[in-house]
Each structure stands twice: as structure tokens, then as C-alpha cells.
């Protein structure tokens, strides 16, 4: 008999939540693999599968038993186990008793720390079949399920009710039950195409047998099928699908046997804003909109049915009917909303609570308007458009359309502002206020939009921090991290040179937070946003490290753009050959100065410079100071550090030949002053002493 065979587990359920399905699938496979490894069960590849009614994992070549394992229990040290006469002590006897053996069965364990008594035994590896139900149960219990449910009379808890459990190792069913459901070899196919039970004789046939039963159990295969089918159908309909990755995932999670259908709606609905049609089709109905080459929507959509219908035209007609009603509803909102100007809705925002402790949405929009104006004046632009945009920015929350499609906030504001005859800059800024909404999303292009987007996010973060609800771990219910990252992206990628510290202080001062310390809150806000900057860089493809970030962070630059320039300079510096020795020297100097308790304002007395190495360093420092002054003024930090890199030889020479802590106080202080000057030059850019650069990386 072979020692291993493929293993299949399938959890058969009622329809699982589509947005969570892929995650559940991967977490189940990952958790199971971890449990198998922890149980020392050998195996080859692990593959995950999922459809609306099942989560499955196939583990290739899973061993039939654990390897046997030698157990070593450490007892008392030999010095304690035997008395001076070499007789066994009660301590050693007690240990032997605990191990269930006679004292003479104990062995010795020696290490460089000493010698101990020990008990060695061989634990027979358990059979895989005995372990599997428990391991599967463990993996299921640690799935990331926000809310588990019970059903019927049972106490089992899962995402949705569980109907069958398939546990197959090779050709054999593993006896046992999971979540109180006895395991077997039966699965089920498509609800309507193959309603009966289906027997799986071995794991290798799982996918093909299910395919016969109209289930594509492989998520990725199903997704690819759908992507191709949607594309083909869109072409047939005369265009390209307007798709997003999340929608493909969701539709994949809603179907076991995807069948594309092309539907149509009345051309007249195309006069609605594009976003409205896309939201109606995609987020409400999970249909794929179709657009022509110029990105104009066509009156068509692709829907993925989960059925090869006997009468596909009726399925199509049904879907078209739904979309007709939905678009008619949207058209009603569009016309009705336009009857009231955005500006006339503003007062009603006083009745909408923004957050307890932070006033109404009206209050928030007033704060954002002040902050956005501050951003605008820093950028040297006229602020009336910004203030107008900010004051109208939240009014679309009260429209029927945004009530129906919350995700269209901002976009609808732009349309309604334009319809009200507001200036183009105002409408555009309103439309851009929530950008970027997600990783990789577009950034606001207009200055007013940038000002509004930064102010809105900064106010959001400031308010929540002021309430003392800083995100922790995975809990970030207000999406503050995303907002902070958005601010960072706008400032850096759009090159906005803002006095960020001033904006932070202004927004904190404007929060209704009672007697909290504004200085602490401002520092907290600065740290929170710059912390995201760290994530922004570290997630990127570039080679920035936490240490480089810390070197710049020590400066707490006022402008994030300046922060960025310093960071890039440090990254370039690290690649220079002298960097490692200069970083070390900075560290050494920092320590010397700290130990000597040197004030910042001692100055160098040139007449006290005597030794050649000291003179060489002094002259180099003076020269470098002259050279870097204009570079600093133009924030050319990279060249500042490149210039300073030339100091490596004089610095090394100084430390090799000059005694800093000499007994002569005047000489000592003068040398300390020279070192302080040197260190200050580096600190103009960043605290390079925080870098630990290995020789290899410096070359």
C-alpha cells in the first residue's frame, strides 16, 4: 500500500455570500494547510475551490499517517538528580514517576549549558484519517466570517447552513463528522440541472464529475470563462464591457454554471448620467454595461445567468424588465432632484448628524470650506470657487438619487451643480472631492478639487482622532487609513507644496473637541498621516526601508513634498560607497555629543585647530557648508548628501588621528563644536545616523 493519496474535502452549503467567497475559499485552504503542517502530515500541493454552494480543498499526496516522533521530556539537572554519594534523589524519582518509568530507564541530555536527566519515548504517528475531521473543523472555525449563523435545532455555526461534508482520502471516505454532519463521498451538482446526489470515487475526478453536473467548481476557471463570455457577448452587442474586477469576482461567486445573455434597454435612458446607468446595471443588478470605442454607453447589458434555460428569451425579458423599472426610477430621481438647487438644500444639512460630537453635516462642510480655503491660499489660487464648492459639496447627500445610490455621492453633486449653473470649477471640485476612493483610483485634477479632497479627508481624520477613536489593528470603521493615504497621494503625486503642519493645526483648532490638548492632537494627526506615507513608500516597488523613513521622520518636515524629496535623497545616499562609514560616523558623533552634553550653540575657534587631520576636516566642513547652502535652498537634498559624502576621508582621518575627549577643556570643546557642525550639516537633510548600511548594499 502506498503511503500517500490525494485528499478532498468539500463543505456543501446553502448559498454563500458572494463578496466573501474568494476570501473564504483561500482562508479555508490556507487554514487547512496550516493545520496539516502543524500536525506533521506530509503533503504536496494544496488547491482551493469554491462555488456558491461549496468550499473545497484538494491536497495532493497526503500521507496516511504522521511520521513517528521522538519525544524528549527534560528532567532535573544531573547535579540535582544525584546526591554527593551518587545516590538518586527524590527529585529524580519523582520525575521518573511522572514519566511512568523506573529511574534507570531515564537517559541523559547534554548541552553546553550542562547535563540533565531526560525521558525519551517514541510517539507513534497518528493515522491521518483520525486527525482529519478535527483539522477540518479547526480550519473552518478560524475562517474570517463576520457573522456566523445557526440553523434548525443545531448548535453548529457557519456562514450558511451546511448540508453535506465530503471527506475523501484516495478512494476512501474518512469517517467522522464536521459541524455535526457525517462525512461521506456524496456531493451535489447544479441546483436545477443536476438536482440529485453525485458520488465522487476519488479526488482526481472531483472537478470533472462536477462539471458533468453543471458546476465549474474552480473559481479561477469560472472567472476566466465569465470574462471571456462577457467580452464576446459585448462584442456581439457592438462594444466593450464596462467591467471592474470586483464585479467579475462577485458574478463568479454567484454562479456555478455561467451563461451570458445580452439584454437591452430603451435608448432614451442614455440621457441619464453615465454613472447612474453603470451603478444601476453593475452595483444593483450585477450586469455588465457595454460601451463603444469612445467610451459611450450603449443601450445594452450583459447578464450572467446561472442556467442553460429552456427558454432563454424569458430570462432575458425578465432581466430587461427589472432594468426598465430601475432606470425609470433613476430617471424619476434625476428629474425630481434637479427641481431643487443644491444651494437650497444646504440648510437641511443642519438636521443630518455627521457624527456624535462632531456636529451636523452642515458643520462639517463649513469646517471643510475653511480648511479648503486655507489649502487654496497656500497654493496661491483664488479661493471663492473652492469655498463655493466646499459649501455645496455635501448637498447631494439629500437628493433622491444619492439616497438610492450612495456610491454616487460627489458624482451626482457635480451633475446637479452643473445643472444649477454653478461655475465649471465648482462642479468639477464637487465631483472630485472623494477621490481617490480606492487604491489605484484617479486623483483630483483641478486645484479646487485637490483642495477640497485634501480638506475633506483631513477633517474626517482630525474629527475621529479628536474623539479618541484612532484606528487600531484591523479596526478602521471610518476608513481613516484610506483617507490619509489619499492625502499623501494627492500631495506627492500632484506635487503640492503645502505647509502641512499649518493645515494640521488649523483643522485641529476647528474641531469641536472641548478641552483636549490641541498640540497633542496635532502631533497625533501629523503622525497618523505620515505613517501612511511610510506605507505608501514601503508598499511601492522602490527600495525604501523603515530606517530611511525614520531618518527623515526625525526631521518632521513641514511639507510632505519636502518629506518626499528628503526620502529620495536618503535612498540615493545609501547607494553611495561612503554612506555606511558616514552613517556610522554620524551615529558615533551623536553619541559623543550626547555624552558630552554639548549645547547646540558652541562655535568653532579656528585658532584652536592644530592637528593636520583636524585641519583637514575643518577645511572640508567649511567648503561643504558653502557648497550645500544653495542646494538646501533649492531642496536639492540628493546633491547635498552627495556633497557630504566627500567628507568620508577627512572624517575617517579625524577619528583615526585626533583625540576628541582630550583633557584640555578648550581643545575638547572646540573639537566637539566641529563635530556638532558636521552632524548639523547632515541633519539639514535627515538623521542618517539611523541608517544601518551594510557594506554590500552600499556597493
Amino acid at each position: 500500500m502506498s503511503k500517500a493519496a490525494d485528499f478532498l474535502v468539500e463543505i456543501g452549503t446553502e448559498e454563500l455570500p458572494p463578496k466573501a467567497l474568494r476570501n473564504l475559499m483561500n482562508a479555508f485552504a490556507g487554514g487547512l494547510q496550516k493545520a496539516l503542517d502543524k500536525a506533521r502530515l506530509e503533503h504536496a500541493s494544496v488547491s482551493a475551490y469554491a462555488s456558491p454552494r461549496r468550499l473545497a480543498v484538494i491536497v495532493a499526496s497526503l500521507g496516511f499517517a504522521q511520521a513517528d516522533q521522538e519525544l524528549v521530556v527534560k528532567g532535573p539537572p544531573v547535579s540535582v538528580a544525584y546526591d554527593a554519594a551518587g545516590k538518586i534523589t527524590p527529585a529524580a524519582k519523582a520525575f521518573a514517576k511522572k514519566c511512568g518509568v523506573r529511574p534507570d530507564a531515564l537517559e541523559r541530555l547534554t548541552s553546553d549549558k550542562g547535563e540533565w536527566l531526560c525521558f525519551r519515548s517514541l510517539e507513534r504517528g497518528q493515522k491521518t484519517a483520525e486527525l482529519i475531521p478535527g483539522l477540518v473543523q479547526t480550519a473552518l472555525q478560524s475562517l474570517p466570517i463576520p457573522r456566523r449563523m445557526r440553523w434548525g435545532e443545531g448548535e453548529a455555526e457557519f456562514v450558511r447552513p451546511v448540508h453535506w461534508i465530503l471527506l475523501l482520502h484516495g478512494r476512501n471516505v474518512i469517517e467522522g463528522s464536521v459541524m455535526n454532519v457525517p462525512a461521506g463521498r456524496m456531493t451535489r451538482g447544479h441546483r436545477f440541472h443536476a438536482p440529485g446526489e453525485i458520488e465522487i470515487d476519488e479526488p482526481a475526478k472531483y472537478l470533472s464529475l462536477l462539471k458533468k453536473a453543471h458546476v465549474l467548481a474552480d473559481f479561477d476557471v469560472r472567472r476566466k470563462t465569465i470574462v471571456a463570455a462577457v467580452k464576446k457577448a459585448a462584442k456581439e452587442a457592438g462594444g466593450e464591457p464596462v467591467a471592474n474586477e470586483a464585479l467579475y469576482d462577485e458574478v463568479t461567486a454567484l454562479t456555478e454554471w455561467p451563461v451570458p445573455l445580452i439584454g437591452s434597454f430603451d435608448k432614451s435612458f442614455l440621457s441619464l448620467p453615465k454613472e447612474v446607468i453603470v451603478a444601476t446595471l453593475a452595483s444593483h443588478q450585477r450586469y455588465f454595461p457595454v460601451a463603444d470605442k469612445g467610451d459611450n454607453l450603449l443601450p445594452r447589458f450583459i447578464t450572467i445567468a446561472n442556467l442553460v434555460s429552456k427558454e432563454p428569451d424569458r430570462v432575458r425579458a425578465g432581466n430587461e424588465r427589472v432594468i426598465r423599472a430601475r432606470l425609470a426610477d433613476a430617471a424619476f430621481f434625476w428629474e425630481a432632484d434637479k427641481r431643487v438647487n443644491l444651494a437650497d438644500r444646504r440648510d437641511a444639512l443642519r438636521d443630518v448628524v455627521y457624527q456624535r460630537g462632531l456636529g451636523s453635516i452642515y458643520d462639517k462642510s463649513a469646517r471643510v470650506a475653511r480648511l479648503a480655503a486655507a489649502v487654496g491660499s497656500q497654493l496661491g489660487v483664488e479661493t471663492p470657487a473652492i469655498e463655493r464648492a466646499a459649501s455645496l459639496a455635501k448637498c447631494d447627500l439629500l437628493t433622491g438619487m444619492v439616497g438610492e445610490f450612495p456610491e454616487l455621492q460627489g458624482s451626482m453633486g457635480r451633475y446637479y451643480a452643473a445643472a444649477d449653473g454653478e461655475p465649471g470649477a465648482v462642479a468639477e471640485a464637487i465631483g472630485e472631492q472623494y477621490l481617490p476612493r480606492f487604491a489605484g483610483d484617479a486623483l483630483p485634477e483641478t486645484v479646487a478639487g485637490q483642495a477640497l479632497a485634501i480638506a475633506d479627508k483631513l477633517d474626517t481624520i482630525a474629527g475621529v482622532l479628536a474623539l479618541g477613536k484612532k484606528p487600531s489593528g484591523n479596526r478602521d470603521p471610518f476608513g481613516l487609513r484610506r483617507s490619509a493615504l489619499g492625502i499623501v497621494r494627492i500631495i506627492i503625486e500632484q506635487g503640492l507644496d503645502l505647509d502641512f503642519t499649518a493645515l494640521v493645526a488649523a483643522t485641529i483648532a476647528d474641531q469641536p473637541v472641548g478641552d483636549k490638548d490641541e498640540k497633542d492632537l496635532s502631533e497625533g494627526l501629523y503622525d497618523f498621516v505620515t505613517e501612511r506615507m511610510r506605507a505608501y513608500y514601503l508598499d511601492g516597488q522602490n527600495s525604501l526601508t523603515t530606517e530611511m523613513f525614520a531618518a527623515v521622520m526625525a526631521k518632521r518636515p513641514v511639507s510632505l513634498l519636502d518629506f518626499d524629496a528628503r526620502l529620495k535623497a536618503v535612498a540615493a545616499f545609501v547607494k553611495l560607497e561612503p554612506a555606511s562609514s558616514l552613517a556610522a560616523a554620524n551615529k558615533r558623533i551623536g553619541n559623543i555629543l550626547k555624552q558630552a552634553g554639548v549645547d547646540a550653540d558652541i562655535s568653532i575657534d579656528q585658532s584652536l585647530i592644530t592637528e593636520p587631520a583636524e585641519t583637514a576636516l575643518f577645511e572640508s566642513v567649511v567648503k561643504a557648508q558653502k557648497a550645500i547652502a544653495p542646494l538646501l535652498a533649492s531642496r536639492d537634498y540628493t546633491n547635498v548628501l552627495t556633497t557630504l559624502a566627500d567628507l568620508r576621508d577627512p572624517v575617517d582621518g579625524f577619528f583615526d588621528h585626533v583625540m576628541v575627549m582630550t583633557d584640555d577643556a578648550a581643545l575638547r570643546n572646540n573639537r566637539l563644536a566641529l563635530l556638532a557642525e558636521l552632524r548639523a550639516m547632515f541633519l539639514n537633510v535627515a538623521d542618517v545616523s539611523r541608517l544601518s548600511i551594510s557594506q554590500e548594499s552600499a556597493h
Binding site: 448559498e15 441546483r191 442556467l307
Partner: protein
């Protein structure tokens, strides 16, 4: 109707009768609509109260629902302030609940090998009932026709065992089955005494009730009525009279909905009223549980297992 295969017209009342017949055959108590205004079939004591505690229960019934804010003066083809739900509850939720539901669709002429039927995640939460459950909305070719929920908590109490709830949207189903695009065009009955439409039965009611809900309901009286109902609810709970106390909660809940339609509450006030209703729901659920417990949960023994075909008592 479809040209290819003209089926007999299923009228609105045929639909109700077919569903009643179907669930009666599966052993459900065919309850009647509760005689008080409520926002959903879940508020019927045959659902809310019966889902509390360990006693098995199953019922099916039509419940008129009032949602004052949904009124459109009879002008909107899809929205009404008064409409019908067909409600099925079974406790404990049976293993084959989904399958039986799908069978019920076949009985009303929805063939799952023709139509694309999907269970799409939709979790239910009612702040005013202190309740939540997990389940789906059921899609028929992309249209929501049913809410399907496994109750997890009601009135703040854990549901043990779990009650399964199916809520059919009768007007939507009827519109689909009759292929009409306007609720008011639904054929209610077509018999020897003539063809009667939904319009004939309810249009005037929509127009007048919308006026009342949005324009005429007296706000001061409503606030007062809410206070009275809340007060009475508490008084009755102290007297351990869960059922009359529950009715006062229903009064308060509907009064709240009217105040909502009159836009008489600010957002934060609205939230406070919801919490007041929830407190009533919780007290009632606890009182009802206690009263059944005092009786020794009489239905735990007497009822057969709620399987298909098994009749209650």
C-alpha cells in the same frame, strides 16, 4: 401573456390561494392577517412572538403592510404605502427549507429550469425589533421576489431553535406572472362577476392615504399617541401581559412610521424613537418568553417534528 404557451391567468387572489394551499399541505397553520397596522409580516405575533423560545411553530399567512413613507399618491407603478406580503415561518427551520420554497415557486408557475433563480446574500436587521438574521433575497431573472431569513436574534433574545422565514412579495410576483408593468394593472380576480384590478381595489386608498400620511396626519397627536402606547406597553409588561403589551408596541411602531412620513423628527430624534421601540420589543419578548416558560412551554411536547407533510397537532 406569452404567445408561445399561454398559461391560465393566475390572478392576485389565485396566487394567495395557491401559496396558502401549498403551505397548508406542508403542515403550516394558516393564520390570518393581524388586525393592526404594521410595516412587515414579521411584526405579526405569529412570527415575532412565536419565534421566541424553544417551542416548535409553523405558520403561513398574508399580511397587509403599511409603509407610509413609500406612498406615491398612486402615481408610481412600483411603490405603494399599503401592500401585501405572504409570510411563512417554520421553527426549527427545516433542512429542506430552500427546496420546499423552490417547489412552491413551481406551484405558482415558475419553472426553475426556465427561469434563472438565485439566492443572493441579503442580511436582515431590524433595529426596532432588536432583531437580526442571515439569508438572501431570492432573484427571479434579476428581480427580487422573496426575502429568505434565518432569524438569529429577536427582541434581543437568541433564537434557539432558529426560525426560518420566507416573505414573498405578492405584488411583484403577480406583476411578473401576469406580465404587467404597473402594480395597479394586476388582475385581482377574473370570475363570473367580472374582472377586478388592483387599481379597482386599492388606487383610491393609495391617493387618500398618501395625503394623510404625508400631509394631514396630526403631528402633535401622533407624538402623544406614541407616548401613550409606550406607557401602556410598560404598564402591561409589569402585569405580565405580553400579548396586549405587544399590541401597544405595534401602535408605537406604526405611529413612529407616520411621524417619519411627516418628517417630524430630526435624525437624532428619529434614532431615539427607534431605540424606544426597540426597548418595548425587548421587554415584550422577555415577558412572552417568561409567560411561556411559566406554562412549561406547552408546545414543546405536543407538536410533531415540523417536517414536510407532518401536520401540526
Amino acid at each position: 401573456m406569452k404567445k408561445d404557451n399561454p398559461p391560465a391567468l393566475l390572478t392576485f387572489q389565485d396566487l394567495i390561494l395557491a401559496l396558502q394551499q401549498f403551505w397548508a399541505e406542508r403542515g403550516c397553520v394558516i393564520a390570518q392577517p393581524y388586525d393592526m397596522p404594521m410595516g412587515a409580516g414579521t411584526f405579526h405575533p405569529a412570527t415575532f412572538l412565536r419565534a421566541v423560545g424553544p417551542e416548535p411553530w409553523s405558520a403561513a399567512y398574508v399580511q397587509p403592510c403599511r409603509r407610509p413613507t413609500d406612498g406615491r399618491y398612486g402615481d408610481n407603478p412600483f411603490r405603494l404605502q399599503h401592500y401585501y406580503q405572504f409570510q411563512v415561518v417554520i421553527k426549527p427551520s427545516p433542512e429542506d427549507f430552500q427546496d420546499v420554497y423552490l417547489e412552491s415557486l413551481c406551484t405558482i408557475g415558475i419553472d426553475p429550469t426556465v427561469h434563472d433563480i438565485r439566492f443572493v446574500e441579503d442580511n436582515w436587521e431590524s433595529p426596532s425589533l432588536g432583531a437580526w438574521g442571515l439569508g438572501w433575497e431570492v432573484w427571479l431573472n434579476g428581480m427580487e421576489i422573496t426575502q429568505f431569513t434565518y432569524f438569529q436574534q429577536l427582541g434581543g433574545l437568541e433564537c434557539r431553535p432558529v426560525t426560518g422565514e420566507i416573505t414573498y412579495g405578492l405584488e411583484r410576483l403577480a406583476m411578473y406572472l401576469q406580465d404587467v408593468e404597473n402594480i395597479f394593472d394586476i388582475v385581482w380576480t377574473d370570475g363570473p362577476l367580472g374582472r377586478i384590478s388592483y387599481r379597482d381595489v386599492y388606487h383610491q386608498n393609495e391617493v387618500e392615504q398618501s395625503r394623510y400620511n404625508f400631509e394631514l396626519a396630526d403631528i402633535d397627536s401622533l407624538f402623544h399617541a406614541f407616548d401613550l402606547a409606550e406607557h401602556d406597553c410598560q404598564r402591561l409588561i409589569e402585569l405580565k401581559l405580553a400579548l396586549p403589551a405587544y399590541e401597544q408596541m405595534l401602535v408605537a411602531s406604526h405611529t413612529f412610521n407616520l411621524l417619519d412620513a411627516r418628517q417630524a423628527m430630526s435624525v437624532s430624534e428619529r434614532q431615539r424613537f427607534i431605540l424606544r421601540v426597540r426597548d418595548m420589543s425587548k421587554s415584550v419578548a422577555a415577558a412572552y418568553y417568561a409567560s411561556r416558560e411559566a406554562m412549561g412551554f406547552p408546545m414543546v411536547e405536543s407538536a410533531g417534528p415540523p417536517q414536510r407533510g407532518a401536520s401540526q397537532r
